[in-house]
C-alpha cells in the first residue's frame, strides 16, 4: 500500500466522519425537536404517556385498550385521574416495557392491562415495532437495552445516531399534523358504526386454526408485568375486551398461559369475550374487533363497576385509609 494513498484515505475518512456527525447532529436535532413537539397521533400519545402522565389509573395494551377504555368514565365512576396508554399495533413486549418506563417516573394506583388472545404467539412484528421506543432510548437506556437486545445487535451504536433513533417518524408527524386525531387522555374514540358485511380482521381476536409457537420472551414479559406492578405496589387488573363475533376460547394456548399465570397470582381477571351486552351488536362496534365510542363508554362503565366491586375506587380507598 502506498503511504500517500493511505494517508489520503485516512484524512478524508476523518473529514467525512466529521461531516456525517455534524449532519446527523444538525438534521437529527431538528427531527428530534419535531418529534417531541407533536400533540396528536400515536407518537404524541406515547410521548404524553411517558412525559405528562400523572394518572392514578392507567390502561395498557394494544388498540383494543386504546379504543375501549374511556378515562372520563373511570374518573367519574371511580374518582381516579385516568390515562389510556394503549398503543395501536403493539403487543406484550411493548406493553411490559412501557409499564416499566411509566413506573420509572410516576406511580399510578391501578393498572388495567387489556390482554389480547395472541400475545404469547411468535411475532416478528412485536420486535420490529419496538422501534417506537427508539426516540426515548438514552433517557430509558437501562430499561430499553435488554429488550432491544433480544433481536438486535450493537444497539448502543445504532442509537448513537439521531437519524436512526428518529427513523420512520417523519411521515407520521406530517400526517397527523395535517389530519389531527381526536384523543381524550390517550383514549381514541371512533364514532363509526360497523357495517354488517365487515369481515373479521386478523387483529388478534379471530381464532386461528393453526397452533402458532409460543415465544418465551413474551411469557417472560408477561411475568414481568406482574412482578413490576407487585414491586411498585400497584394494583393490577387484567381484562379481555368484548368481541362482535362468538370467540373460540378453546384453542388459544397463548391465552391459557396468561390466564394460568393470572390465576396463580390470584389477580383480578375479567373476560368480556362473548359477553351478551356486546356480541352481535353492530351499533357498539366500528369493526369486529374494536368498539366504537358508544360501546367503549358502556364497556368502561362495566369495567369500572367491577373495579368498584373490588374496592378499587377513590372513595373506597379513602374510607379504608
Amino acid at each position: 500500500m502506498k503511504n500517500s494513498e493511505l494517508n489520503l484515505l485516512g484524512l478524508n475518512a476523518l473529514k467525512f466522519i466529521a461531516v456525517l456527525l455534524v449532519v446527523d447532529f444538525g438534521l437529527g436535532t431538528i427531527a428530534e425537536r419535531l418529534y417531541f413537539s407533536q400533540t396528536t397521533g400515536k407518537q404524541a400519545r406515547i410521548i404524553a404517556s411517558l412525559n405528562f402522565n400523572d394518572s392514578e389509573l392507567l390502561v395498557l395494551g394494544s388498540s383494543h385498550a386504546n379504543r375501549h377504555y374511556v378515562p372520563e368514565v373511570f374518573e367519574n365512576l371511580l374518582g381516579f385521574k385516568s390515562y389510556n396508554a394503549g398503543v395501536q399495533g403493539q403487543r406484550l413486549l411493548f406493553t411490559s416495557t412501557l409499564q416499566k418506563m411509566i413506573l420509572d417516573r410516576s406511580k399510578p394506583k391501578i393498572i388495567i392491562v387489556n390482554i389480547d388472545n395472541n400475545w404469547m404467539q411468535e411475532s416478528q412484528e412485536a420486535y420490529d415495532r419496538l422501534s417506537d421506543f427508539h426516540p426515548f432510548y438514552w433517557e430509558y437506556r437501562k430499561i430499553l437495552l435488554p429488550v432491544l437486545n433480544l433481536k438486535s445487535t450493537f444497539v448502543d451504536l445504532r442509537m448513537s445516531s439521531k437519524a436512526y433513533r428518529m427513523n420512520s417518524t417523519l411521515v407520521h408527524m406530517a400526517f397527523y399534523f395535517v389530519k389531527p386525531q381526536e384523543a381524550h387522555n390517550g383514549y381514541l374514540p371512533s364514532y363509526k358504526k360497523m357495517a354488517l358485511s365487515t369481515e373479521v380482521d386478523s387483529d388478534g381476536l379471530s381464532s386461528n386454526t393453526e397452533k402458532p409457537a409460543i415465544d418465551t420472551n413474551f411469557v417472560t414479559a408477561f411475568d414481568e408485568i406482574i412482578e413490576t406492578s407487585s414491586f411498585n405496589e400497584v394494583k393490577l387488573v387484567f381484562v379481555v375486551s368484548p368481541t362482535f363475533h362468538v370467540p373460540d376460547k378453546t384453542e388459544s394456548e397463548s391465552m391459557q398461559i396468561m390466564v394460568d399465570r393470572i390465576k396463580e397470582k390470584n389477580l383480578p381477571f375479567y373476560d368480556f369475550r362473548g359477553d351478551s351486552a356486546f356480541m352481535g351488536k353492530p351499533n357498539l362496534f366500528f369493526d369486529p374487533a374494536h368498539l366504537n365510542h358508544e360501546g367503549a363508554v358502556l364497556f368502561s362503565g362495566l369495567v369500572a363497576a367491577e373495579l368498584e366491586h373490588l374496592g378499587l375506587s377513590a372513595k373506597a380507598q379513602a374510607g379504608a385509609e
Binding site: 500500500m1 502506498k2 494513498e5 493511505l6 489520503l8 484515505l9 478524508n12 473529514k15 467525512f16 461531516v19 456525517l20 455534524v22 449532519v23 446527523d24 438534521l27 437529527g28 427531527a31 388498540s63 395501536q88 399495533g89 420486535y127 420490529d128 422501534s131 433481536k151 438486535s152 445487535t153 450493537f154 445516531s161 437519524a163 436512526y164 428518529m166 427513523n167 420512520s168 417523519l170 411521515v171 407520521h172 406530517a174 400526517f175
Partner: protein, 469 residues
C-alpha cells in the same frame, strides 16, 4: 451473509484490510484470500452448498483445460456438452425438478390420467442461477476461442465465487473479470472512495425505496382477494420500484464492494423506467442477464441473421426462457412471454424509440402489466388481479390504521428517486452535488444520503428479492 447485515459490516473492512496489506506482487495470496472470503460469505447461509459451487467450478476448470488442449471439433463439442449438461443439470435439479414434476402431473390430469409422484424437499442454493451462468459463459467462450482457458485454479475458483457478485450478479464474463484477478493492483484512495459512493447509493435504493414500497406491496399482493382494481394498479407501480430498488441496489452494492478491491464490474441498471420503448428498457434493465441471453442464446439460435419470422420466434423464445430463469413458476414464464411479445410487436409495428415523453409512460405501463405476473404468487391470483383491474376498479386501499404511513413513505421516496433519475438522465452531471468540485459539498451530500437512509430506511427487514433466483 447479507449486504445489509452487521456481519457484513465487519466482514468487508476485515477482508479489505487484509487484501490491501498483502503486497501487490503476491497476487496469488490476494486471490487465496478472496477465495476464502468468498466461500465464507457463501457458506454463511448454508455451508453444505459450498460443495456444489466447488464442484461446478472444478468441472468447468477441467473442461476449459481440455478444450484448450484439443482442436478436434468432436471432442471440443463433447466437452462443451458435458459442461452444459452438468451446469444446467444442477440448476435444473435444484431449481426446476418440482416445477417440471408438477407441470407433468397437471398435463397427465388434463388427459384424464394420474401421475403418482412425490415432491422432493429440495432447498434452492442461493445464487445458483447466477454463478451457473457465469461459469457456463466461461466454457462457451473458451469453446468459441474468444478467450484462452485459465490455468490457475485458484484464480478460476475465485472468478466463479467472487463474493461481491456471487449471489445476485452482475453476471460477469470471464473475458472481463478473469484478467482482473491477474493484475497486480496497487492500492488507490479512489477505489475506496468510488466504491463507498456506489455502496451508499445502493443502500438508499434498497432500504429507502425497495423496503418501503414492499410494506404496501406485500399487504396487497399477499391478500389479493380482498382488494380492488385501483389498489392493484397502485401496488404494482410500487412493486416496479420495489424490484428496481432491490435489484439495482444490490447490484450497486456489489459493484461498489468490488471496486474497493480494485475490480470493475459491469453496470447492471441504467435508469430503466426512463426508457422510450420496451426494447430500450431491456438495454437498461438487468443488463448483465439480457446481454448473457443475447450472446449465449439469441445469437446461437440465429439472432438477426435468419429470416424475419424466425428472428421474431428466436426473440420470443429467448424471453420465455429468460422468464423461466427467474423462477420455477408459470407466472415467470408468462412474464417473459409478455416481454417477448412486446418486443415482437414493436418490431412488427415498426415502433422506434422516439423521444416523446408519452412513450416513457406507455413503456412503463406495459412493463408494469408484466410485473403483475412476476409478483403474483400463481397464475390464478395473477388472473384475478388482471380481471379485477378491468372489471372492478373500485377505490384505493390506502392502508390499515396501524400503518397508515407506509404508502406515503413509498410515494415520498419514489418521488425523490425519480427527481434524481430525471436529473441524471436529462441533465447529466450538471447541478450535481455528489460530483461537485468542492470536496466538502460532496461529503455533505453523501452524509445527507446516509442521514436519509437512517431516517427513512426500513431496517431489520428481509433479504434481497433476487436471491431466490
Amino acid at each position: 451473509m447479507l449486504f445489509n447485515s452487521i456481519e457484513f459490516a465487519l466482514f468487508l473492512p476485515t477482508v479489505l484490510l487484509l487484501y490491501w496489506v498483502i503486497p501487490s506482487r503476491s497476487n496469488n495470496f490476494r486471490n487465496v484470500l478472496l477465495l476464502g472470503a468468498s466461500y465464507l460469505f457463501y457458506g454463511w447461509w448454508d455451508w453444505r452448498f459450498l460443495g456444489l459451487i466447488a464442484f461446478s467450478s472444478f468441472v468447468d476448470f477441467i473442461i476449459g483445460q481440455r478444450l484448450s488442449l484439443t482442436s478436434n471439433t468432436r471432442s471440443r463439442k463433447l466437452f462443451l456438452t458435458i459442461s452444459v449438461v452438468v451446469n444446467l443439470g444442477l440448476l435444473g435439479f435444484f431449481k426446476y425438478f418440482n416445477f417440471f414434476l408438477e407441470s407433468l402431473k397437471d398435463a397427465f390430469t388434463l388427459f384424464g390420467k394420474e401421475l403418482n409422484s412425490e415432491h422432493l424437499a429440495i432447498v434452492l442454493p442461493v445464487g445458483i442461477s447466477f454463478y451457473t451462468f457465469q461459469t457456463l459463459s466461461y466454457t462457451i467462450d473458451v469453446y468459441k476461442r474468444k478467450i484462452v482457458a485459465e490455468n490457475d485454479i485458484i484464480k478460476f475458483f475465485t472468478f466463479v465465487s467472487f463474493f461481491p457478485q456471487l449471489v445476485a450478479g452482475p453476471i460477469e464474463r470471464a473475458s472481463h473479470l478473469l484478467p482482473q484477478f491477474q493484475a497486480g493492483k496497487t492500492f488507490s484512495y479512489q477505489f475506496i472512495s468510488e466504491g463507498f459512493k456506489q455502496i451508499v447509493w445502493g443502500f438508499f435504493l434498497k432500504l429507502v425505496i425497495a423496503d418501503r414500497a414492499a410494506i404496501y406491496v406485500d399487504s396487497v399482493y399477499n391478500n389479493v382477494y380482498q382488494h380492488e382494481g385501483l389498489t392493484f394498479i397502485f401496488a404494482t407501480v410500487l412493486f416496479a420500484f420495489q424490484i428496481y430498488g432491490d435489484f439495482a441496489g444490490y447490484s450497486l452494492i456489489a459493484i461498489g464492494t468490488a471496486k474497493m478491491f480494485g475490480f470493475d464490474l459491469m453496470t447492471n441498471f441504467s435508469r430503466p423506467y426512463l426508457s422510450f420503448s420496451v426494447k430500450e428498457f431491456w438495454t437498461r434493465w438487468h443488463i448483465s442477464l439480457s446481454t448473457w441471453f443475447r450472446d449465449y442464446l439469441y445469437i446461437p439460435l440465429g439472432g438477426n441473421r435468419v429470416p424475419r419470422p424466425r428472428m421474431l420466434l428466436n426473440l420470443f423464445v429467448t424471453f420465455v426462457i429468460s422468464g423461466l430463469w427467474h423462477g420455477a413458476n408459470w407466472t415467470f414464464v408468462i412474464w417473459g412471454a409478455l416481454n417477448g411479445a412486446y418486443l415482437v410487436l414493436e418490431i412488427l409495428l415498426g415502433i422506434k424509440a422516439s423521444r416523446n415523453p408519452f412513450r416513457i409512460l406507455l413503456t412503463f405501463g406495459l412493463i408494469n402489466f408484466s410485473w403483475i405476473f412476476f409478483r403474483a404468487a400463481n397464475l390464478q391470483e395473477a388472473g384475478h388481479i388482471v380481471s379485477t383491474i378491468f372489471t372492478h376498479p373500485g377505490s384505493l386501499f390506502f392502508s390499515s390504521e396501524s400503518d397508515v404511513t407506509a404508502p406515503i413513505y413509498a410515494i415520498l421516496s419514489i418521488g425523490l428517486l425519480l427527481l434524481i433519475e430525471l436529473k441524471r438522465e436529462f441533465l447529466g452531471n450538471r447541478f450535481s452535488i455528489t460530483n461537485h468540485r468542492n470536496q466538502w459539498v460532496r461529503m455533505a451530500a453523501f452524509a445527507c444520503i446516509i442521514f436519509l437512509i437512517l431516517y427513512l430506511g426500513v431496517f431489520d427487514k428481509g433479504q434481497f428479492i433476487y436471491f431466490q433466483f
